[in-house]
Symmetry: C2
Subunit: 294 residues, 2 copies
């Protein structure tokens, strides 16, 4: 039996969840993940590599996806890179129609998965077979090429207090933060963008997801919002400051997209079927752009 090809474009979806998604009641976000993975016919694998309690985590998602009617569910527990380089496991993951990455610690996940056969298999599943890749909390942070690894910022941005690392790279030119409004992380994201204006910051609230249809558009679902911090026009004094200093930041552009926000986007520009407001357009185009396998 072959898993269904979800996306007509051959390219799949990303469901980037800010953590704390409902797993028992309305399951709005997990339902969408299942739908984008092919509905009840989906073949879903749950990668628990970010977590130190993978079996508990798997139990929760196993139950949730079963409730949502998915028959083919598999856990992928990982504790070292050798497992992530196992060709059989990579083949299993590469054949799935839905790949879900749990919460935990994104550094742990990348230390195990980054650059392995499993990593490649996920990219191939997304880009060649139209699979859906979901990730929550750490699993969301892990999706971008530049990954917010760790860092606590109290009340004001503080240079050098947030560390980036290499993520899975399903998205480029962004950095993703999660539990965003709940943990008051705008200041942390501002700190990242102040030092890395190349990256647009994307903050995703709990029980909220940014759904990216590669080549097609984006949508925000759930009960919160997605905040985008764009520092490309920013004027700052970061180069003149010592570590931990609070930078002067002028003209940071902020976008707040509550659940229900939805934009079709043509990644190549051209014919104007785009519905997005102009200041969002190039950010959204970049989000939905299909990046190559390499």
């Amino acid at each position: 039996m072959t898993t269904p090809k979800i996306s007509r474009s051959g390219y799949g979806h990303l469901v980037i969840i800010g953590g704390g998604e409902d797993r028992e009641d309305d399951m709005r976000i997990l339902s969408r993940f299942v739908e984008l993975s092919g509905g009840p016919q989906a073949h879903i694998v749950v990668i628990t590599g970010a977590s130190e309690i993978p079996h508990e985590v798997w139990d929760v998602y196993d139950r949730a996806f079963a409730t949502l009617g998915v028959q083919r569910r598999e856990a992928v527990h990982l504790s070292n890179r050798a497992q992530a380089n196992d060709p059989a496991l990579a083949e299993l993951v590469g054949a799935a129609s839905g790949i879900f990455m749990s919460g935990g610690d994104q550094r742990r996940l990348l230390a195990i998965v980054g650059g392995t056969l499993l990593d490649e298999a996920m990219h191939r599943a997304l880009k060649q077979r139209g699979a859906c890749i979901g990730g929550t909390s750490a699993g969301a942070s892990a999706m971008s090429g530049h990954m917010l690894a760790e860092g606590y910022v109290e009340l004001l941005p503080a240079l050098g207090s947030v560390q980036l690392a290499a993520g899975l790279g399903f998205l480029q030119r962004v950095v993703i933060d999660q539990h965003f409004s709940q943990r008051r992380r705008l200041v942390r994201l501002l700190t990242v963008v102040a030092q890395n204006p190349y990256l647009q910051g994307i903050g995703i609230d709990e029980d909220t997801a940014l759904v990216v249809e590669c080549g097609g558009g984006i949508e925000v679902i759930g009960r919160g919002a997605v905040t985008i911090v764009d520092g490309r026009h920013m004027i700052s004094n970061v180069t003149e400051l010592a570590d931990r200093a609070c930078p002067q930041l002028v003209d940071v552009r902020l976008h707040l997209l509550p659940a229900g926000s939805r934009f079709k986007v043509n990644p190549d520009g051209g014919a104007e079927t785009d519905e997005a407001p102009a200041p969002l357009l190039d950010i959204l185009r970049s989000l939905v752009r299909r990046n190559s396998l390499d």
Copy 2:
């Protein structure tokens, strides 16, 4: 004895404090207030009208200003409009070189002072005699023409959840919030700006002040920062939403000015002695513009 004329331009300063300014140790902000009021020669009145514990409040500032070497210190306790319309009291306040408004509740302060002889006397002191007007917490909020009166917003902007009222109008086109980073009020200020893009939001941290030299420039002093939220370029859907809904906001411009930020500004444009980055320029010009007595 006449009180010294502070500002050579005939126009004075505003010291807008986000609350919680140090009153015992370094007193960085109160020192500056004293300095801008004429130093040890200053004649300072403290208006406690916002507070329900005016005598306790006065004790604190009486002690602080005494420590800072000011001999002529007077409390102006107000509990009703008749007092604020007393010509003798208005004359006292109008003759002061420094007028300080305490914290408390800005609605109480305005209910007592708004539109009275005392209100007029404060404007005259600032604009004709170069007095310095300071205000902390409620006394800071009260300074703008549109005053943030009350409103609690939890994690996301919520339409209709913040109320504005009429303030003293030393500044126009802005709305001031205080205890800004400490009480995580960016979301509240975004709510105001989303519905009132005419106003630029100014959030001032605790133990931090925005010093406005009318006609000359601005400076941020203390230990925190001033956040400016500019919604003039914003694209939003506020007109389509029900009360309490979270709006979609695109292209809100954010400026973060930590203590030490200082810009000379020529309010009339013209000769470019301005040091401010372009995206800040018209906001700062508006802040330092001398508004007329009427």
